[in-house]
């Protein structure tokens, strides 16, 4: 089963990759191109959140890193004139640094304390941005941010799209390596059972901080990409909505897996845009809420696990419920 699922994931991801790479040649809709760009950025952000959750830390305030990466990258680019392509990674480094600082306060906390503390940090960072740091950040009014690719270059939209696609793929490959490496195994260990991990010589504090650093770095990349794509940054970037969307994407797709954030983001984006077309307004959120709850209760491992669950259900029909079929994990 394990072998088949891995293959499935690999083929699935390759298929998605092929479609996204070929997409601009299938359709010439600028709207869809823009939508895909935003979706790719969301995939990076969701994967970043997922990485932290993989180590057992569920952050409710990940928008903080989105914003820090974006502001840092913007300010560095404006002050120094360096191209956004480079400042993205500098800004992400700032986000990673702050992430470690925040992590230091969180590492000894139980999960839901950590959730609350991270939620609080997003609010605190926003308050700082609009008050003490306002002269630098433009406060509530925000500031203009240099575009990733200047509109004066012909075909800039395609260049931007492929650049972001490359960065997304690179991020996913990086996460894949991390998960497979010793670090990834350590994350898994401290998530499953902290006591046993410690007994096995894995220091939870150290690896939790590493997880924070990596996750906030990637989140910073996503934030910087988004702002350089849009061209203007405001403190609303730290908002609660931005912290909650990646959670929804990842849970729907499958928490703790590589493909989970990817699939969850794509599926929910399609659903969301489709719901917009129906004219529903508040109803959209109600439906998303139902999807989230139903996933948590009935499909806890996410869509990634759906083929397996269907298979188990299929085999169990006609017998005394699905428990008649021994479930392999």
């Amino acid at each position: 089963m394990e072998f088949k699922r891995d293959d499935l994931i690999k083929y699935g991801l390759v298929a998605i990759l092929a479609i996204t790479a070929a997409f601009p040649f299938i359709s010439d809709s600028v709207f869809l191109l823009n939508l895909f760009v935003l979706m790719l950025i969301s995939i990076i952000f969701a994967s970043a959140w997922n990485l932290l959750a993989y180590s057992g830390q569920g952050s409710l305030g990940h928008a903080a890193f989105l914003g820090i990466g974006a502001y840092a990258s913007t300010l560095i680019a404006i002050q120094s004139g360096i191209s956004p392509f480079i400042t993205i990674f500098l800004g992400a480094t700032v986000a990673a640094f702050i992430g470690v600082l925040i992590g230091l306060t969180c590492v000894r906390l139980k999960e839901w304390f950590l959730a609350m503390v991270t939620f609080g940090f997003a609010i605190i960072v926003q308050a700082l941005t609009v008050s003490i740091l306002a002269p630098m950040t433009g406060g509530w009014d925000g500031i203009a941010s240099p575009r990733l690719v200047s509109p004066s270059i012909p075909g800039y939209q395609l260049i931007e799209y492929y650049a972001i696609l490359v960065i997304t793929i690179a991020s996913l490959i990086a996460i894949w390596y991390i998960m497979k490496s010793r670090i990834g195994l350590a994350f898994l260990a401290i998530r499953e059972n902290e006591l046993e991990a410690r007994a096995a010589g894995v220091d939870p504090v150290r690896y939790r901080l590493i997880a924070f650093a990596m996750s906030s770095y990637l989140a910073g990349v996503a934030g910087a990409l988004q702002i350089h794509h849009i061209g203007y940054i405001t403190p609303e970037l730290y908002g609660v909505d931005n912290s909650f969307w990646p959670i929804t994407f990842v849970i729907l797709g499958g928490l703790g897996t590589l493909a989970g954030p990817v699939i969850g983001t794509i599926v929910l984006t399609i659903i969301w845009e489709g719901l917009k077309a129906t004219g529903l307004t508040f109803g959209r959120y109600v439906i998303i809420g139902f999807i989230l709850i139903l996933t948590i209760i009935f499909l806890p491992k996410g869509l990634v696990n759906l083929p397996e669950r269907l298979q188990v259900w299929w085999k169990g029909r006609g017998r005394k419920g699905i428990r008649a079929v021994p479930q392999k994990e």
């Binding site: 609350m116 503390v117 609080g120 008050s131 909650f244 109600v286 948590i296 209760i297 806890p300």
Partner: protein, 292 residues
């Protein structure tokens, strides 16, 4: 106006405003104590309680303080349904799951309420609006006094219920030792539902009192108070009612001071700064916690 006078005034306003937090925090302590689950959507029960009271009041004109009981009963029912359908199936699968589930509930409740009632701010006028009572040098609207009185009454009733009735004792037993409670024959599933229901009823009371005091309300009103209530019970010590009360009052004072000295935007941030500082020093909260 002398400084003591101002200080006392602020303390009084803080006391009345704190009633809402105290009711919320007590409900959370109850639910967390018995079931050990984290429900960030608790504030939505406050919101539903508020809207039920407002709607019934506007339709029938019955005194809102009487509607309070109806609202609390309605929420016992709603709470029981949510517990059975949503939280029971995931009991034991980890706190993160509960948190994520509550996010889904928040989406559904807030936007469902917006669909039914619209998302504009509304308010209702209490039948006693305009009547004031002199208290010291202040002219206090009689509603505020009634609210404080009701909060005290509800808390006393809850205290008596937990201490004197059999179900109350079973709840306390379950919260102290769930396995042990099962062993001596307590139906913990039933206790779960009842606790959740009562917790929600307390939230409904908070919502009703919010409305009655003439404050504006909208579908999003519940989220910040809920998060703050969680911060309060962590600060005050999980499961400790006196801790929640003291924590609530401290929080109120800190918030108003921060808004005054640092600027409005810091009002929310200060609660979290205090929480973070306390947790860094004592990762289990101010007064420690009773078994997690």
């Amino acid at each position: 106006m002398d400084n003591i006078g101002i200080f006392l005034q602020i303390m009084f306003w803080g006391l009345y405003a704190g009633c809402i937090y105290i009711l919320l925090a007590t409900g959370l302590n109850l639910i967390f104590g018995v079931m050990k689950i984290v429900n960030f959507a608790h504030g939505e029960f406050l919101m539903i309680g508020a809207y039920i009271t407002a709607t019934v009041f506007l339709l029938t004109g019955i005194n809102p303080y009487v509607i309070l009981l109806l609202s609390m009963l309605a929420l016992v029912g709603i709470g029981a349904v949510i517990e059975r359908l949503c939280f029971r199936p995931i009991l034991g699968t980890g706190k993160l799951n509960e948190i994520f589930l509550s996010i889904g509930l928040i989406y559904i409740f807030q936007n469902g309420a917006a669909m039914i009632w619209g998302d504009a701010w509304q308010s209702v006028k209490s039948p006693y609006d305009g009547i004031t009572v002199p208290v010291g040098s202040l002219n206090v609207p009689v509603d505020y006094i009634i609210i404080i009185a009701f909060t005290a009454a509800i808390l006393i009733a809850l205290f008596l219920f937990l201490k004197k009735t059999r179900i109350g004792m079973e709840m306390r037993a379950t919260s102290q030792n769930r396995k042990g409670a099962k062993l001596i024959g307590i139906n913990v599933e039933r206790i779960d539902i009842i606790s959740f229901g009562i917790g929600c009823a307390l939230a409904a009371a908070a919502g009703t009192l919010w409305v009655v005091s003439g404050q504006v309300f909208n579908p999003y009103m519940g989220s910040i108070p809920a998060v703050k209530a969680f911060a309060i019970i962590i600060l005050g010590g999980l499961g400790s009612i006196p801790g929640a009360i003291i924590g609530g009052l401290l929080m109120g004072i800190a918030e108003n001071s921060a808004a005054y000295y640092l600027g409005g935007i810091w009002k929310d941030a200060i609660s979290f700064i205090i929480l973070i500082i306390v947790l860094v020093i004592r990762p289990t909260g101010l007064f420690g916690e009773k078994g997690e």
